[in-house]
Symmetry: C2
Subunit: 810 residues, 2 copies
Amino acid sequence: MDYFNIKQPWNDDIMLLPLTNSNRNNLHNRESINKGKNQEDDDFDIDDDEEIPLYNKTNNEMENFEVNGDNDFELEHAKYDDFSTIDWLRDIMSEKTGKKKQINRNSLNQYIKSIIDASQSWIIVLFIGILAGIVAAFVAISAAWLSDIKTGYCPSNWYLNRRFCCLKVEDKVNHSCSRWVNWSQVFFNNPDHGFFNWIVYVFFAALFAAASSYLVVHVAPYSAMSGVAEIKTILGGFIIKQFLGAKTLIVKCISLPLALGSGLILGKEGSMVHIACCIGNILTKYFSRYKKNEARKREIYSAACAAGISVAFGAPIGGVLFSLEEMSSYFPVKTMWRSFFCSFVAVFVLQFMNPFRGKTVLFQATYDRDWHFFEVISFLIIGVFGGIFGSLFIRLNIRAQAYRRSTFLKYVRIAEATFMAFITSVISYFVIYMRMDESELLEVLFKECEEGDHYGLCQRSKRIVILLLITMIGKAFFTILTYGVSVPGGVFIPSMTIGACFGRVLGIILQHIQQAYPSFPLFNSCHPDKMCITSGMYALLGAMATLGGVTRMTISIVVIMFELTGTLNYIVPCMISLMTAKFVGDAFGKGGIDHMIIRLRNYPYLDQKEEYFIGKKAKDIMTLKDDLITIKSTDATIGYLKRILNENEYQGYPIIDKEEYVTGYITRSDLKTGLERNLLVNDNAKCRFGDLKNVSSSSNSLGSREHSNEVRNVDFRPFFDATPISVDENVTAEFIIDLFKKLGSRCIIVVRHDKLRGIITKKDILKNIEELDSEYFDSIIGIHRRNQETNGDKSYTLRDALRILKIFKK
Amino acid sequence: MDYFNIKQPWNDDIMLLPLTNSNRNNLHNRESINKGKNQEDDDFDIDDDEEIPLYNKTNNEMENFEVNGDNDFELEHAKYDDFSTIDWLRDIMSEKTGKKKQINRNSLNQYIKSIIDASQSWIIVLFIGILAGIVAAFVAISAAWLSDIKTGYCPSNWYLNRRFCCLKVEDKVNHSCSRWVNWSQVFFNNPDHGFFNWIVYVFFAALFAAASSYLVVHVAPYSAMSGVAEIKTILGGFIIKQFLGAKTLIVKCISLPLALGSGLILGKEGSMVHIACCIGNILTKYFSRYKKNEARKREIYSAACAAGISVAFGAPIGGVLFSLEEMSSYFPVKTMWRSFFCSFVAVFVLQFMNPFRGKTVLFQATYDRDWHFFEVISFLIIGVFGGIFGSLFIRLNIRAQAYRRSTFLKYVRIAEATFMAFITSVISYFVIYMRMDESELLEVLFKECEEGDHYGLCQRSKRIVILLLITMIGKAFFTILTYGVSVPGGVFIPSMTIGACFGRVLGIILQHIQQAYPSFPLFNSCHPDKMCITSGMYALLGAMATLGGVTRMTISIVVIMFELTGTLNYIVPCMISLMTAKFVGDAFGKGGIDHMIIRLRNYPYLDQKEEYFIGKKAKDIMTLKDDLITIKSTDATIGYLKRILNENEYQGYPIIDKEEYVTGYITRSDLKTGLERNLLVNDNAKCRFGDLKNVSSSSNSLGSREHSNEVRNVDFRPFFDATPISVDENVTAEFIIDLFKKLGSRCIIVVRHDKLRGIITKKDILKNIEELDSEYFDSIIGIHRRNQETNGDKSYTLRDALRILKIFKK
């Protein structure tokens, strides 16, 4: 707002609080301060996409804002700046008052209008479902084609990938296919020119990665990585403009297949959630009910999250539970219905598009054998592996990301991505299980040997075990380094593949032992004629356990696995492995990968699931009244308001009357709107902030306004909240957290006998919460603590042991 | 508390507010008033199961309650009277402060103790799962045996029911079985003496019903009906002592099989939820963390609800979603984990017990055919039927229940139940589908004809269609009259059977048409060699649609059906039918059967899913200050406190200081506790209610207490809430509703500048909400409205049409 920067001759006598440079930096709404420090530097050179028009109102138009005897002033929908937290309460309440107006006009016409209004949500989620399904099919098809084009092409139909090109003609055992020609065949007419093929393979990989990274870095920085952490934060009530914009969507849709095709060890699952949310956000712009209501938009995003996971895994119920368990802060039953609807539509569109030709979505495993009781030991081993791998992965990956952000690497992002793709493809070309498409590998690992030998997995040789272990370690190494590079892609599938390799190896070894010593007492329950160990199921459990270790989800994973296998038989093994993985993982540190990214990037996210204990009172965590800028309800003039808006960046101002009673709270953007609507008013004009009673009693005196044209009274009542949430200064911090969590308010006023004492924002709470585990977090990103513990990591031993015990609380 | 009834010479000069008879009845906490009017008369002759001991404290012991310089006074766990609402906030907060104390003592010993403490929840849900599984198996086996014993018995093993007696020897087609002998064979050695069999059948039916009803009426009145409405209310934060007690549990476990065996048209599903909750409640008594914390108990009940549905339908995920969608007011993710665990344990125990020998739980349907697009019309018809039947059922059943409560029928409950069983069995003996066990009928209706002809369902004759229609109408008629009779049992399965009959009939007719006119354009998509219409699937959809119409659930039903069929193929038909059923049902009136029962019985239940709009302000709905009894913080004496406790039944008293600032709120039971702990204190002793600051400043003056032994000062600070939730009198009622919903507080203090203006309880809100749809509810229970609409029901036409349109909002 350039307007506010015009220097004006300030009317000094109306200054109520001196604005010195010293108190300007520790003021109550530090949200604006984050702007500089919390974000990656070049990601945020964005301009407001919704400029607020400066109304050039005539005096006549302004009449609307004068006192008119009607006491029913309603706050409008809130407008939010970038990187600010939303006020759930106000957004939801503002809709309710809107409803009231409709109900008052009780005609059929109005009813029909209100229905169209109300059915908007269903229309939006319908379209999200359809579009998410289409995009998922597009991403799957193009990623598969790009991935295969590195090795050769299909001369009969160049646009077909290997699977479709070889449909029905492929040799099931050694996977040779004459219709697909590799590049050395094309150029040298010699299919066995391995070195040339390798060169082409690596070249394409690097090319795709460079292209993907270029798009991300130079066109839409927000489309990097999976975006799950940011969406979690957005769902928690934070504004990140353009993160869900059209540019991000388009770039992500193009660069995601490129990144996947380049062979970088990344998955598309988290990104599908981001894409679905982008679709949702763009659609809300065309529906009046959602356009300006950030709280309602969150409901749509929740449904979109469900659809994203739903198309990624082909698990509609799992998708909804993912949205409920992992993503959403606010998930009313109504949203659950819409999420289900959205999920199912998305899955059906995807099945209809049928990008996998006949296969059900992603992968499907069917086991008809039962598990044996002695296998519980293996399930525990898999769980422990999942937990340890998960926390190790989080630790190393977060450290790598922190390193990347603090060194020269942040200036050479495209080169970094290209190099990662280069080195990945150089190595993975020689290991068949690394070269394969990740979801294909998962599918193969999950398959039983009865269904045919795929890629030699059922051969009894040490070679397979070693190959699988190499794949596991290689993938783990590359994923840790790759997740965080400026390309789209998530860690769901990579972590699952790693776990699946481990599980399969364990299964193969156990199967071997059992067949070598069938009379060993442990194997008594095995049927002599049947395979005793279902190694495909072990792979599935491994995949679930590592996914659980990395993300710390439980129920959604169980349900996804249930939907994939279509049987309840393996629910118990799955729960054992997952619970073990979660417990072991939590013992080494709370929070999944996305939670850690939120911490790393300092997003203001208040975890609804966590029960925090700070042990302070409101007065200990509030920003004191003396550090605030307040508006005196009776003395404020237009000039003063302009000045406080101009001279600081605080997000809101409490309004007090002469006796210091709190009479309201006005946000920065509301104040801005109020001033914009009264542009032509003289700076000396008084502004009415009185509560309703005061104003109605003083409306008589206002009646004389028309006579004195020089000093006008401007009514600010439509622009501020006359009943902000206030608490006594002696309430506990836990109660305040509860208020933020459950009511979703943006700031809470602290009073003593209704007199202003201070103010608490979500950021104040978060600062206090962060202090609780700052030590642990510092240890992760590698910052050495200041206190004199001699051997840093060693000193954790007892503490870690205690943590293992503590986790049962969760 | 007899103690408080002892007349004492009241010290009149300390009376602050005159207690006249006129203001005694319209006082703020009307909860106690409900005691007389809202409940069925004889159901409530219960005594407090937890007598609060009257401590005979010596002066030395009382020292503990004096001011001791420590400012950290903590409220204890709240104690609640019967039929009072709980204070979620306080219960949850009191646990947090408990945690704080633990954390302060930071030793390994403490940690281990805290883990044992924390793992209590998992242990409880584990046991709930195990016991629910066992009880479900017991109920299933005994109900089946009782049901079969009406026709004959198994001479080889008298304790076997017909299915087990005839296992492997039964003729699959006409269901004859030589091992099972009927009663005329036993007595007359002639199996065909139909009349005698009929007499015995009817006699047993009446006998079982009488026994079941006797137990319910004379031993545990709470075990009547399904109990789902009450559990919903309890989960919403209401205390109904003994509703989940041991006596109720035992009686329900015995009388439920008797009721089912008597042939009354009732199901066991809702009752299983009640039984599981009873188990949960009894278990919580042995765990310190849950024993006294009513809010935490609700978390256990939520898990128990999930387990109940889970064993009833064999659908663990569906059970959790049922608990989430239908039952719980407060369902944090932590509770979801426990519910899942509980559900799975329950199902596995049940599968392990295997009461159905080989069959998976309840019924399982597998369809391998696809549905055709033209069938959407049928799905819509089924949905419309479900919706209309549902609302008709609710209307008639509620009217019947209201009639029963207001006439002589309430005095002849056992006779009524016996008569219902008599008349039901007299008629249903002649219709095979009515005589069959309900879940068996459902199973048969869901089956496809490829799996064999069961009970002639696959014969192509008009007779079957007519028989099914008779069954449908008969069951509908009897269920409407039976649900509400004093026996345990719910309406889930009966309403499903009715829908299944309808669906099957529709399927059979459509199949017939298709086979008669295969070339009709609509049937183009049918494969000539295959059956085109899957009439078993139609039955399933019908069952879901009527269940949806009666209960207004959606997602849980979809998931249950998904778990039953194990395929996603029929999700779309199911969603179409269910959504239609819900929309049509809602058009004729909001709320499922349980919601209406809650309305009928006037339980204080605030629906979390509903968005209410009252359009008033806090000051319009509050009870005014002048109608309240307040405690002046500085002047209150023991005598005065005893007096207000003795002379009225209000549930709480605001505490104000001299300037009328609100300094706290004390509940009736806390006041009682406080007085009991200071029994020996002189009535003239002053009570300290000052806020912490005041007290600490006045603690010096208290130091002199020891010298004057006559007038002691009693510190009441441990007994009251110094920071009750208070709001400005100008906030909207919608905001207040939000506070009640989300924070779960018990009462909200209304202030203006922190000075007491009034108080709002949940009941005040409910009264205002009830007014919104009182007209509709009156029409249901048959009360004629006072305003002069000429032809009552006809005038609804336009209104109903508008409602149909309005429902899209949901």
